[in-house]
């Protein structure tokens, strides 16, 4: 019967999709593990750097650095949004873009000029479709962001910041908390904040080490702070990649399960249709035989 053929066709189609989503899920899983490993590998550097800044800030008796000063007047606020290059990762890009949109509105409501820098093809495509102007599109950073790709971006921001062209830099990305939790966050890259408040609390607990400094603590700090900014931006990019792969894994697992459900239902429908057809045929035969006798 026509109905049965249609059911078989549809089931085959769903089976194909099932195969694809399952493969994508496995690929995302592998990529997630690789990205996670990379993100973890940068931990020792970040932690050590933070500790050094802490020690130095104490030795230098407070910090005053161009990167920490809030400019008085003028300059634009840079908003950098990190989205993915590929789709099929559930609500990942949507969540990032929504958070970015809210932050953008609040910045503009505060009367600031905003320079929008969009990272990732998906975000660029979305804004183009929405007819929203972007000041910069960055689509050449792949799924394994390397430090030497991020470094120039951070350096450029710091240079423009010290020149007074920009008054703040915010990065919107998906922060990786755990495999079950990723949250879109707005992080302030520049001006640097939160360095002094932290070490004020730790100071009494840790015994002071008499370091031999070369060059003096102030100059060391001048070098360390830009490094902190660079690593913060790098971390944002690595986190974004990890979160993206998790989102894709989750989305593809859900799709695979949904496909399995549909296959089951279609098989049931097909069997039922087949049984109905057989019964009908039997009834026909029995009816015919009865009519003859």
């Amino acid at each position: 019967m026509a109905n049965r053929r249609v059911l078989i066709k549809r089931r085959d189609a769903v089976r194909n999709i099932h195969k694809i989503t399952r493969t994508m899920q496995m690929i995302a899983n592998v990529r997630f593990q690789a990205a996670f490993k990379r993100a973890v590998a940068s931990k020792p550097y970040t932690e050590k750097l933070a500790k050094l800044v802490d020690d130095l800030a104490r030795a230098a008796k407070g910090i005053d650095h161009p990167l920490m000063r809030q400019p008085e007047e003028g300059g634009v606020s840079v908003l950098m949004v990190i989205t993915s290059t590929r789709g099929l990762c559930g609500g990942y890009n949507h969540n990032v873009l929504r958070t970015a949109g809210e932050h953008l509105k609040s910045l503009e409501a505060g009367g600031e000029r905003v320079e929008l820098q969009m990272v990732g093809k998906k975000g660029v495509a979305y804004l183009k479709f929405a007819g929203w102007p972007m000041d910069r599109e960055i689509t050449d950073i792949g799924e394994t962001p390397r430090f030497d790709e991020i470094e120039p971006l951070a350096n450029e921001m710091m240079e423009r910041f010290t020149r007074g062209e920009i008054r703040s830099v915010d990065v919107v990305y998906m922060k990786f908390v755990s495999t079950g939790k990723q949250i879109p966050v707005v992080e302030r890259l520049l001006p640097l904040t939160g360095l002094e408040s932290e070490n004020a609390e730790v100071a009494p607990a840790v015994a002071e080490v008499q370091y031999e400094f070369s060059p003096d603590p102030h100059e060391l700090l001048n070098e360390l702070l830009p490094a902190t900014v660079r690593i913060a931006l790098f971390q944002a990019f690595s986190d974004a990649v990890v979160s993206e792969q998790v989102s894709r894994m989750v989305a593809m697992t859900a799709a695979t399960e949904a496909a399995e459900d549909i296959i089951k239902r279609l098989t049931q429908q097909y069997n039922r249709a087949r049984q109905t057809a057989i019964t009908m045929e039997l009834l026909d035969i029995v009816g015919g035989a009865n009519a003859l006798s």
Partner: protein
Amino acid sequence: MASSETFHCSVVTPERAVLECESTFVVLPAWDGEIGILRGRAPLLCKLGIGRLRIETADEEHILFLDGGFAEMLDNRLTILTEDARRPDELDRQAAASDLEEARALTVTDDASLEARQKALQRARTQLRLAD
């Protein structure tokens, strides 16, 4: 295997932990010249320049190319933070040679560009020397 002769040494970059070992002697490329480090050195925090890092362990020697960074020696643990650390076999001789040409071609107009040129030259030259 920590003996009375060795101290812990680790080299980390933002991307990975490059090296983790018990060393007997280390030569750091500090910003103002080389610094040699033995076990029991007083706490040190210093800025690094571009240059060669030499780490001696009980039975081998590691050489790394470093591009700036920081070194901290504390309680017989030496930590080297750098944004770029490569073994000589990871260096690209040709790329370094062309970098050297580019650096030579840079024009100097003020102090900042002079410093940039010197740094680029030093970076390329050190890489070339280590790649051989």
